[in-house]
């Protein structure tokens, strides 16, 4: 469905509009390929909208779980920016960093683009985000500027009695030759609700963005994330997803290589336990010649968890010289865990290199035995092997604090 009913210039929507909008929504069903493994009953019970209560103190455990990165941060709690926990100091010259609402006066085009971008192919949750996700962060880096500290956006869901999913948004624009690192962390506390986040990214010529998503909402919550990227010539988008939390953790990447010789490197790690479903829906569209894209996603699935990798490479007419690769490797730690891989390739150009591969395996018994003959007990040996499998994705993150946070979250000793 489309969301053209949403006013594109006005980020605030009245209560009456909310109801209209909701009335017109079609929730996805199991028949939609992109929603095949989603817990539809859970999704139907969710409610979206304004925060159910104003933000008070964060539960102490949650406060301590926010990765302590050096640099500015914007903390959004229940769909509203929490000024006390945010540090908006400008990290460098030529950088605009504000709340999403605050971008309205200085950078109206950021906001307009945010509302518009990637909506052709949207769904009900995107429409809800556009309606309610007015709080968030706006990041603009001027031409040729480099931001050397990570900008951290933290989405927090602390729902009340209602099943309130907090909506928030991040708009990022890097002008020609600019570079930055943006980290988005989603956390939550409570028995229901969750986060619905939407990130729009526009990269100018030769711009470079490192974008890291750490999704770790409470195991009873859901996360619905969507990242829409438009890349100019020779720009580089390097993304790292750690999809860890929630009963349902869904992250959509929609990357459009719109200028020649652009490059997108998408890597991801999902780590499922209990009855979690961790769902990655990726589409990389090659819309210009000589672009390169990589999708490398790894899943570790324990207990009765389910991993989904639905990865598309869409090579449009004229995108000659495309070099696209995709891999999805899964490690099943239990015979009740499940990995679903669905590659989607559409190639409408010439001189295209397109590779994809998927594997599903278990812990290597030989390797386990080898470690144990060296005196390492079985549970440590398992942990070491799991970490070894996940290591590639973790090591690819430059930021040491974040790497340590992820390593600890995955229950590993120092490596």
């Amino acid at each position: 469905m489309t969301t053209t009913t949403t006013p594109a210039t006005n980020p605030t929507v009245s209560e009456a509009d909310d109801i209209d909008l909701l009335g017109g929504l079609d929730y996805p069903t199991r028949r939609d390929e992109a929603w095949r493994y989603a817990p539809h009953d859970t999704l139907k019970r969710l409610s979206f909208g304004r925060p159910a209560r104003p933000t008070g103190a964060l539960p102490r455990t949650l406060e301590g779980r926010i990765p302590a990165l050096d640099g500015p941060r914007i903390v959004i709690v229940n769909g509203a920016v929490d000024p006390d926990r945010s540090q908006l100091g400008n990290p460098a010259a030529g950088v605009h960093l504000s709340t999403l609402a605050g971008a309205g006066s200085e950078h109206p085009e950021l906001l307009a683009a945010h509302l518009d971008q990637g909506t052709d192919d949207g769904d009900a949750f995107l429409a809800l985000n556009i309606a309610y996700g007015n709080a968030g962060a706006a990041i603009h880096v001027a031409s040729g500027q480099a931001v050397n500290v990570p900008i951290h956006v933290v989405h927090i869901a602390l729902p009340d009695e209602t099943q309130n999913v907090s909506c928030s948004g991040v708009a990022i624009r890097l002008d020609d030759g600019a570079s930055a690192t943006v980290v988005e962390t989603s956390l939550g506390d409570g028995h229901h609700g969750g986060t619905n986040t939407r990130t729009t990214i526009t990269l100018g010529e030769g711009a470079t963005l490192d974008h890291i998503v750490v999704q770790d909402v409470e195991s009873t919550q859901v996360h619905l994330g969507r990242i829409s990227v438009t890349q100019g010539s020779r720009s580089a988008f390097r993304s790292h997803l750690f999809n860890l939390g929630g009963t349902y953790g869904r992250v959509v990447y929609d990357v459009r290589l719109a200028g020649d010789e652009a490059r997108a490197d998408l890597s991801g790690l999902y780590f499922g336990q209990g009855r979690q479903t961790l769902d990655q829906q990726i589409t990389v569209t090659h819309a210009a010649p000589d672009c390169t894209s990589r999708q490398r996603f790894r899943g570790v699935l324990d207990d009765q968890s389910t991993g989904v990798f639905n990865g598309g490479i869409d090579v449009r007419p004229g995108a000659d010289g495309t070099d696209a690769q995709q891999s999805n490797d899964n490690l099943l730690l239990s015979d009740r865990a499940e990995a679903n891989t669905q590659p989607r390739l559409e190639i409408l150009a010439d001189d295209v290199t397109c590779k994809h591969g998927a594997t599903v395996g278990q812990l290597d018994d030989n390797a386990l035995y080898y470690l144990r003959t060296r005196g390492i007990d079985e549970s440590d040996a398992r942990r070491i092997l799991i970490h070894g499998f996940a290591d590639e994705a973790i090591e690819a993150v430059d930021n040491e604090v974040l790497r340590a946070w992820i390593t600890e979250r995955l229950g590993h000793a120092d490596a």
């Binding site: 470690l371 144990r372 060296r374 440590d380 092997l385």
Partner: protein
């Protein structure tokens, strides 16, 4: 030290070890030779604790019953096996692996763990012994190592773990002459009154560098002949023909007597 009595092992009902007896005293070096498929590696893994065998008989190390222990407990008790085919473990740093192994063994023995810096000194010393480049510490365990490099890595692990009993399964196979000498001198350096070695090999050449106290011939899952190092010379000249497909009563007398130095 090691007492093995009437050891049997079968896999899915197929017998592989058929009543193997072996006594290894402290500080002794035993060579074990035998045709392909005779059960040498199976013997090594039965002692190290690999899963999947139906095991019979007894094996004790310093009085402790090895056969009921998990592999890690056997390692803590002092068993080390150098693999014929060392396992590649992508993504796991060699140094981290070595330190975790050493500290696991130390913990199990009630000793204190060793910190990262002190461990580095231990590792470097061990690496000098096998003339291994320090770069190997920062690579994933065995991943992409050449055949010879993997074998050196096995000896490196042995040097770090300081076992009571090292069972080296074809550690000499696939080594060039120089590497063979390096590994042999590594093993010799680790020889001592408290450390015993069982060397499984196909080549008498290794025994020129590491002089064994005893040589055993394993055929069809049992030791059919034992002698001193001259037995290996005999095998080099005559192969296993004397021991295979013969009634053992037909085995010709071997030039053992008086050959010991």
């Amino acid at each position: 030290m090691l007492h093995v009595q009437n050891l049997t092992a079968s896999i899915g009902g197929t017998p592989i070890l058929n009543g193997l007896d072996l006594e290894v005293g402290p500080g002794e070096v035993h060579a074990m030779m035998g045709p392909n498929g005779s059960g040498k590696s199976t013997f090594a893994h039965a002692l190290a604790g690999r899963d999947g065998y139906e095991i019979g008989g007894t094996a004790t190390l310093d009085g402790a019953d090895l056969l009921t222990m998990e592999p890690e407990a056997r390692a803590a008790a002092g068993v080390f096996i150098g693999f014929q085919y060392p396992v590649e473990i992508p993504g796991v740093n060699n140094m981290y692996f070595l330190r975790t192994a050493l500290n696991s063994v130390r913990r199990a023995r009630g000793e204190t763990e060793i910190g990262a810096r002190d461990f580095l000194a231990v590792a470097h010393e061990a690496m000098e012994l096998v003339e291994m480049n320090k770069d190997f510490l920062n690579r994933p365990v065995n991943a992409g190592f050449s055949g010879g490099e993997k074998k050196r890595n096995e000896i490196l692990q042995m040097a770090v773990l300081e076992p009571r009993l090292a069972i080296l399964d074809e550690t000499d196979s696939g080594l060039d002459i120089d590497a063979l000498q390096i590994i042999a001198s590594g093993v010799n350096a680790l020889r001592g009154p408290e450390r015993s070695v069982i060397m499984i090999t196909h080549y008498q050449r290794l025994l020129d560098y590491i002089r064994p106290d005893f040589v055993h011939v394993l055929v069809d899952g049992r030791i059919v002949e034992s002698g001193d190092h001259t037995l290996a010379l005999h095998l080099e000249d005559h192969g296993y023909a004397d021991f295979v497909n013969h009634d053992l009563d037909d085995t010709p007398a071997l030039p053992l007597a008086g050959a010991a130095t």
